[in-house]
Amino acid sequence: MATPLEHCPTGIAGLDEITNGGLPRNRTTLIAGGPGCGKTLLGVEFLVRGVEMGEPGVFIAFEETAEELTANVASLGWDLDALCAGGRLVVDHVKVERERIDKTGDYDLEALFIRIGFAIGEVGAKRVVLDTIEVLFSALDDTARLRAELRRLFSWLKGQGVTAIVTAERGEGTLTRHGLEEYVADCVITLDHRVDHQIAVRRIRVVKQRGSNHGTNEYPFVIDGGGLSVVPVTSFHLDHPASTEIVSTGVGELDAMVGRGGWYRGSTTMISGESGTGKTTFAAAFADAACRRGERCLFMAFEESGRQLARNMASVGMDLQRWVDEGRLRIHASRPTQLGLERHLTAVYQQVEAHGPDVVVIDPITDFTSLGTPTDVKVLLMRIVDYLKTREVTAVFTSLLHDRGAEDPTISSLIDNWVQLRNLESQAQRDRGVFIQKARGMPHSNQIREFELTGEGIQLLDVVAGPDGVLTGRARARRTTEEGSR
């Protein structure tokens, strides 16, 4: 055939990227996967997005009633009743009960074809989902005839001018339990929902796609408040807005260390350091400064409750409770181990959508590393960073360093600015130091500055240089006194 297959954009975030533009138009795509892998949701979203793009749809539900389906997807913000009432969608529940079907002699599934055709005609459908047609195998217990009829059905669908999705259960050692992949030659996608180290991870893979140069990798995906979202690891286009506006770091002297007086709006900053170096305080200072400017801030706290955070920050002169009371600051506290990685994305999305923040703090991102493999965590962070950047949200993440310099370079490539906090030990005293590891697109100080957490906030101390470098703590005090007495 000379003409290449046209694509039908699904409208599902990321799926069109990994399929080079969508599913084969006017063909049938097979979606295979185990129970709870998201097949049905993918099918529903395909239709919902289709309606948004002016393509009405038909959902033939073999497993759920229209009421169950409608209720199940309501939490994703999809109102199937309204779409049906508006003449944009038909949901037809095909009820097959094995014990109620007696067979005597020859038959075919022409009535099912008529049903689907009637539904297509009712709304002028361009998209059809059959979920999960395989239940017919157990209901009719007539494999040979059913295979012949499904073959006929798929070729009939091609003539209906619709782009179709057929869902199927994954088989043992085969893509689908009943070998439907033999009939659907145009596009096959598998979904997987596996639990790894007690963490649930969803993955999607384009197994085959005729006439298309598709990605064969597995991609993580999430189901969140807005539907499915696939994360293509390498194919995201970097086309975020790049603001030249500067926002304060929240610490006056730190602003001065950065050439432009703060971070670019929409940038992502990581504050890393060992335990007890004041990471949360720096992050809170950033949040506090945003609220002072009249902006809205979301603070995702994964180690302490909102009240505890507010109390602790009050001791260093920050009144976070005031911003909470005024509705500018929202502290969302939760334990990361309660949620899988994908749920974390959901939580960030949902909180951002609900609160509409100008700045977001995630304290800390370290806790994500207990939830999955380094790749999973990186992908999660990439997704969060991309999402926040697209919305021009300025973000600060904190990260716990166990060993100096052990920071994962792949994560650092995702972030724009990196502030390191250090414990400086000298003369039986521990002091804290801060330096800027990197600040994209701006000159910055190379100095390590000592700082103190005081009742008035974070105070960076003046640089006092000695013969062996910067002096801190007692050495600084002695030197300062010596200089004063000179």
Partner: protein
């Protein structure tokens, strides 16, 4: 109509899609079985789904031909050309009159 003590009336529907040999055979088989076992107390309504496709959804029909016993309740369905009389009798729950 003569009605016996059980007051049973048999209301049957046969769903077809156009006049196919299979449908014609199913109707012929059904008429024969009814005459033999339900004489005088049955009615057969033939529904062509090509003309009334909405009934396929409303009555949950997927296969052609489908025989539906609407009365007596409960509703029962048998699919196929009804060529096996014994199975039709079992499917319709008709006890052979003896």
């Amino acid at each position: 109509m003569e009605v016996d003590g059980d007051a049973e009336r048999w209301e049957l529907r046969l769903y077809v899609a156009g006049e196919t040999p299979r449908s014609v055979a199913a109707l012929a088989n059904l008429r024969r079985i009814c005459e033999e076992h339900l004489a005088g107390k049955y009615s057969i309504d033939v529904i062509d789904l090509l003309e009334r496709p909405q009934l396929a959804r409303g009555e949950q029909i997927i296969a052609i031909p489908t025989l539906e016993r609407r009365l007596p309740e409960p509703v029962r369905k048998i699919i196929g050309d009804l060529s096996n009389t014994e199975r039709v009798l079992i499917g319709l729950d008709i006890r052979p009159s003896g």
